[in-house]
């Protein structure tokens, strides 16, 4: 079953298509990274999914409910805004009690303590107004997970955190794998690569890629080879005119970083060239693409 399914979801402003014909499918239980450059439409998508904005066209189904027909699905979602805002006069515990009241939780004390422990705010007594940005981010995560919702929508959950805090939150999100659906937007590609099962890449409001990380890596067209030889200049001179070579650059006068368009052809022809030219091969390494490579390729190819 799908936790989120959008059908031609669009949001137009006067002179901009913030979200344009978005067809997205997020299965239940996966961690889905929603990636895109600044202004791509990530936050607008989230606002549409949460009924904070109205679609110009299309619709979405969240946990089986059509967002145009009801808002009842909202109490099954934990949401963290990009810039979390709270009632500054509350302290953490008081605020979570208020959220528990709104969520209809009965006897929430134990759950509140758990949530505060998870985000490391258990001993924090001061008012939320005096919190740092990172503490507010952790507070935001605490209120999002408080009612133990089946779907979490997190807008840039790690953006304001220090490395240690980021690791803790990523580990927390990762621990939800399999039994909670997490839809989170981020521009930190390494975070997405580390914990996501699936990613979607959005640019100028359009979804340009959406699949599992494994499938995306398999379909990634460019591959990089690191080759160390005794005569790199000679090899570069030969490779220069070959059509399966995308680009190359020397490394410390003894190696070449070679980007190829067609890995299979490269794997067949390169050893032949090396043998024929009697070049001594010291090292051969195929570098797996990372999410950043894929992201950059997807974003630039689309443009």
């Amino acid at each position: 079953m799908l936790a989120i399914k959008t059908e031609g979801l669009s949001k137009y402003f006067k002179d901009k298509r913030a979200v344009d014909n978005l067809n997205l499918e997020v299965p239940e239980g996966v961690i889905f990274g929603y990636l895109g450059p600044n202004g791509a439409g990530k936050t607008t998508t989230i606002r549409l999914l949460l009924s904070l904005a109205k679609p110009t066209e299309g619709t979405a189904h969240i946990l089986g409910k059509n967002i145009k027909e009801t808002r009842s699905y909202l109490n099954k979602i934990g949401f963290l805004p990009e810039v979390p805002s709270f009632y500054n006069f509350f302290n953490a515990r008081e605020f979570l009690h208020f959220i528990a009241d709104l969520s209809g939780m009965e006897k929430p004390d134990k759950r509140i303590e758990e949530a505060l422990k998870i985000v490391n705010l258990k001993n924090e007594k001061k008012r939320i107004g005096a919190y740092s940005r990172g503490m507010k981010q952790r507070m935001g995560i605490a209120q999002a997970i408080l009612s133990d919702p089946p779907l979490l929508i997190l807008d840039e959950p790690t953006s304001a955190l220090d490395p240690e805090g980021r690791k803790e939150i990523l580990d927390l999100i990762s621990s939800f794998k399999g039994y909670k659906t997490v839809f989170f937007s981020t521009h930190i590609l390494s975070d997405a690569e580390r914990i996501c099962d699936m990613v979607g890449i959005i640019k100028d409001g359009k979804l340009i890629l959406s699949d599992s990380i494994d499938n995306i890596k398999k379909s990634y067209t460019k591959r990089t080879l690191l080759i160390e030889v005794d005569r790199p200049e000679k090899l570069m001179g030969i490779l220069h005119n070959l059509n399966w070579v995308e680009s190359m650059s020397p490394i410390n006068n003894k190696g070449i970083k070679l980007e190829v368009k067609d890995l299979t052809t490269a794997q067949k022809e390169l050893p032949q060239i090396i043998t024929k030219e009697k070049i001594l091969l010291n090292k051969w390494e195929l570098i797996e693409p990372n999410l950043e490579d894929i992201f950059l390729e997807a974003v630039h190819n689309d443009g």
Binding site: L50, F79, V83, S85, Y87, F90, I99, S103
Partner: protein, 251 residues
Amino acid sequence: MMVKLIKKELVEYLKTGKFYILLFVFVFFAILSPITAKFLPEIIKNLSQGISITIPPPTWRDSFVQFSKNLNQIVFIVIVIVFIGSVSEEKNHGTAALVATKGIDRRKWVVSKFLFQFILSVLLLIFSFFLCFYYAKLLFPDTQFYAAISSTVLFLIYLFFVLSLTIFSSSIGKNLLQSAGIFFAIFIVINILNILPKVSPYNPMTLSSIESQWISSKVAWEDAIKPSISSLLLSAILIISGAIYFHNQEL
């Protein structure tokens, strides 16, 4: 749910000090009005330094005319300033969006804010009335309860209208300034409409002028029926419109 939302409003007003500002204003003018009525003629006489000024002896009516004026001017302004951002500032700060994503009925959220503001204002008004009455009775033993309470009831109806206009403006506006602009624009238009003889008997503004008349001469409920009913109807329209607008608004 409404009770929980009202409870949150109460905590907010206590913790941010807004409650104490309102309490101070209501108490201050409740005490000040009879004292001013009693001693202002003597103060003026003492300041006149030989100039002959004839001032009629003060009565209990002066206390409550003063009280009514203060309610309609200074207390009115303070109430508007304190309440006008109740919805719009939450929109502006993002807390409205956070609460809305918890799946609460947005209409109930607006109505709960209005109810809280009305209940708080009524309690403060009752408290300040009895405080004013107590001091008036001390200074003017012949103070009449019926006329004083009747004029305060009229102010209560007027206050209901003002609060509904406040919540409407706050629901429509995106921030405090915009809401205040909407409020005063409508308020000024309603005041201007009061010069039309056909509109005047139904205008909520008429209530405040009747208040003084009742204190100065006599209570005539028949004069208050039309403006009271139209004020309550207009208030209902404003509250419902504000709640529906906010329900459909993008946050």
